[in-house]
């Protein structure tokens, strides 16, 4: 099981029936593949649809239906389409229960940076600033480190996506909950020790309880 799959499987367990969920491009999109059986979740894609699904067959790709990354997608019965203003009215207006986004950095205040590296790469914020500001629950799904450098920092060095505190960070090594007191280490991945997580993080990790083991049942 590679690190992305570990992250996606763990995030999938955070989703609850009857909720509206937005999955970011890339790693977060993988979460849809690992939902518990029978879970009734609606997926919103910010390009304007609720009820998106995987394409049943590559031959069925239509030119008018893709995910937010431009990849051809399918739709479930009961899907509904809308324009970009409505799409973000749902996001900003408190109608989106969960957003799962990738991240470049998260810090002790629970701030997320994920939209640019000054002087290097400036992809832009796309919908990320709205999603982090507006969703009821923000889950960051990202690798714990990048090229050996920690991404869980005391303070973000990259421009922030929002000053809102994110709700949960899931990496291939750990599950971390940002709180008013700081970052709480909730769980470590199977085979990963608390010391290893601490060593891979720059931020101070609080452990009011002994961290549990990440559930990533196949």
């Amino acid at each position: 099981m590679n690190e992305k799959e570990i992250i996606a499987r763990r995030v999938a367990q955070e989703l609850k029936s009857g909720t509206l969920v937005n999955l970011g491009i890339g790693l977060p999109t993988m979460v849809a593949s690992y939902l518990p059986a029978g879970l009734d979740v609606s997926f919103q894609s910010e390009n304007g649809i609720i009820g998106m699904s995987a394409l049943p067959d590559p031959g069925l790709a239509g030119s008018n239906l893709t995910d937010a990354g431009g990849t051809p997608a399918g739709a479930l019965p009961g899907a509904c389409a809308f324009d970009s203003a409505m799409s973000f009215a749902l996001v900003r207006g408190g109608h989106l229960d969960v957003t799962v986004l990738g991240g470049l950095q998260v810090d002790e205040e629970g701030h997320l940076a994920n939209w640019m590296v000054p002087g290097k790469i400036v992809p832009g914020m796309g919908g990320a600033m709205d999603l982090v500001s507006g969703a009821k629950r923000v889950i960051v799904a990202m690798t714990h480190t990048a090229k050996g450098e920690p991404k869980i920092l005391r303070k973000c060095t990259l421009p922030l996506t929002s000053v809102r505190r994110v709700d949960l960070v899931v990496t291939e090594m750990a599950v971390i909950q940002p709180t008013e007191e700081g970052l709480v280490l909730l769980e470590t991945a199977p085979g990963v020790t608390v010391d290893q997580v601490v060593a891979a993080s720059e931020a101070k990790l609080l452990m009011p309880k002994v961290p549990g083991v990440m559930g990533i049942a196949a």
Binding site: S45, E46, N47, G48, I49, G62, S63, N64, L65, T66, A68, G69, G70, A73, A75, A81, F82, D83, S84, A85, S87, F88, A89, V91, R92, I121, V122, P123, G124, M125, G126, G127, A128, M129, D130, S133, G134, P159, L160, T161, S162, V163
Partner: protein
């Protein structure tokens, strides 16, 4: 009013230096014939307002490839390395706007609103140079309306009079932009007789549409 025209004739009306809103999301829902015609006629110094710059050789990415855009107001350029390269080289100015804010700014422009107050971007780099206004103790950014000289729109169906409906995720910014420009040029997949789109299914009222592009129309 007979609004049907060719892409060639319609694009001829657009001068160099024009401010264009072009629908689409990573190329999906972009009026392809109109974009191709902009490239063919070499319209330059354009200001492009769009969700993104798509990919090289896809959608509005073709305008970037051809070096026709001097300024882009978009929510991201993450899918187009050519735009990134031109930006770093100073050939194009890029104003990045959060996607939901961009949608509201375009909608405000088309609705006669001066702007909206959004919580998105408060305290971030997106707030630089903008006024912050508190309402009931919550800070919001004042984001101002956007308008354009022309909007180039993709639709699923049009009737002869210009009523438009859209398909799935190719709707995106199209109906918003159809309200926010002086001249609106729509490129539908099909043009049907008036009365063939029921009133409740019309998304863009015909009064907003100035020209309809018929595929292969010869006038």
């Amino acid at each position: 009013m007979y609004k049907v025209n060719t892409a060639e004739e319609a694009v001829r009306r657009i001068p160099d230096g024009a401010v264009l809103m072009i629908g689409g999301f990573v190329g999906i829902g972009t009026p392809q014939d109109l974009v191709d015609e902009l490239v063919r006629q070499g319209k330059k110094d354009l200001t492009l307002i769009a969700n993104d710059t798509a990919r090289p050789n896809v959608g509005v990415g073709k305008l970037i490839d051809a070096g026709l855009v001097k300024k882009a107001i978009v929510s991201h350029i993450g899918t187009n390395p050519v735009t990134q390269k031109q930006m770093i080289g100073g050939a194009i100015e890029v104003e990045l706007v959060p996607q939901g804010t961009l949608a509201e700014r375009v909608r405000a422009g088309g609705s006669g609103l001066g702007g909206v107050l959004t919580p998105t971007g408060v305290g971030t780099d997106a707030a630089i140079g903008k006024e912050t206004i508190e309402i009931n103790g919550i800070p919001y950014l004042l984001e101002t309306a956007l308008k354009a000289d022309f909007a180039l729109i993709k639709a699923r169906s049009a009737d002869y009079s210009g009523n438009l409906r859209y398909s799935l995720t190719s709707r995106n910014f199209n109906p918003l932009m159809a309200m926010a420009a002086e001249i609106v040029i729509a490129e539908p997949d099909e043009i049907v007789p008036v009365g063939c789109i029921e009133p409740d299914a019309v998304v863009t009222p015909h009064v907003l549409v100035d020209l309809l592009i018929a595929k292969g129309a010869t006038l």
